[in-house]
Symmetry: C2
Amino acid sequence: MQNRKKIAIVGVGLIGGSLALQLHEKKLSSKLIGVEVSANNARDALDEELVDEIKPFDDAIKEAEVIILTTPVNTLSKLVPEVLDKIDNQIVIDLGSTKYDIIKSINGHPKRGRYVATHPMWGTEFSGPKAAVRGAFEGKAVILCNKEESDSDALGWVEKMYNKIGMRITYMDAKAHDLHVAYVSHISHITSFALANTVLEKERVESAIFEIASAGFESTVRLAKSNSSMWVPIFLQNKENILDVLKEHIAQLSKFKECIENEDAHHLKALIIDANKIKRILK
Amino acid sequence: MQNRKKIAIVGVGLIGGSLALQLHEKKLSSKLIGVEVSANNARDALDEELVDEIKPFDDAIKEAEVIILTTPVNTLSKLVPEVLDKIDNQIVIDLGSTKYDIIKSINGHPKRGRYVATHPMWGTEFSGPKAAVRGAFEGKAVILCNKEESDSDALGWVEKMYNKIGMRITYMDAKAHDLHVAYVSHISHITSFALANTVLEKERVESAIFEIASAGFESTVRLAKSNSSMWVPIFLQNKENILDVLKEHIAQLSKFKECIENEDAHHLKALIIDANKIKRILK
């Protein structure tokens, strides 16, 4: 990949900002143009030197050769068709955590081929331009969905971009993607939010939590710091899959509850040994 | 603290072994005697040089000036009275994750004063002597329970021990201890075990999980690798408190479920903003 491209990033927060740092670092961009609806975020993105300039939406799209959308997923399913209406031959990418609804929104669009659906499996519990991280995404997985619907030059550039950043590319159908991420990402956020609410609800003497909370607790509750603007749209857009996993999770918790109520050490041990099998998957 | 002591550690696994490393490192021990029911653990504890020698239970208790019990909590409520029956004037400490039942088991015992009930808030999801960690416990909290029931010399030595290791001491009544740890430690393990079972149950194509699982998932499910021999007794011994928290947790998850079912973005946002308050407690 010799020629760098002019790249517009729509939504310069944690994800867009971290990607901007990588695009510059890996010499993928000749210019980075930010688009931001929030004046604070726009100022922070410039202060942190994540982008070279902030421009209005239409101007950025006109100037850029690649347009990267990193807004919350509810915005994306309106924004992707809108951007495709406006482009000529540019490449359009989104990084949203759900894919089925977004792809459906541009089914049959004359510019469908210019768009590549991606989901890099990286994030933190923080948000905004100041949360952007240098070296983000490296060594993680990225999922590309419905690649046969993208033009080969657009797909090729996006594959090269993620390769240069150091991500492992996996290909999936959008429907399979939304199902898989419900299991390995979305449910973790719900359990973490619910655990935070459980503890905050039950434990009135907060200083006691603060004093004795261990690393294990911090680990399971860390994601509860995550931003509602990002996660409410994800939960609603991936409703059916998430409800499926959530019902199963409540059923699994109920098994623990029953074993403890009945003081059934034998069955409790079996449940834990089953759970230990996660070792095969996570080292 | 000038004079080092001969210390027996009953149960040289993750906790006992990590403590042994610290007792030597901080010059608290003149000799470390291990007691192990498992021949494999005994051999590993010697191979890893966690203790100087392995001795039978009675010999170790006779020789040691301080006896530290780090077995699972169901064993502790039998072992603590048994050790108090056998000692002369030694100091006896346990490191179990529950306290009420253990302390109750020696209520009124003539040697009650020689015993100090402690719970250092540190551990990992691994177990056995080979999992022992150098520098463990440092910077973490340790809870000392019902300190007024311990002789002042015994309490004083234990306080000095934990101070030297670099732990922050908190004092609690045993009943309050068991309630607090149900919130900030025990429930995290149950949610993690149940989450692992949810994902393993639902996701048949394991390679897909392995490929795309993100750091967030690893964080919430890490504790699911924890050992059943340690955790079954904890869940049963702290039954009432854990059931209390677990019921509340299932109720909190059900709130998320209802909001998603009803596509109630407003209430879902409120739940997440509530959960975000955990930021005040965990930085």
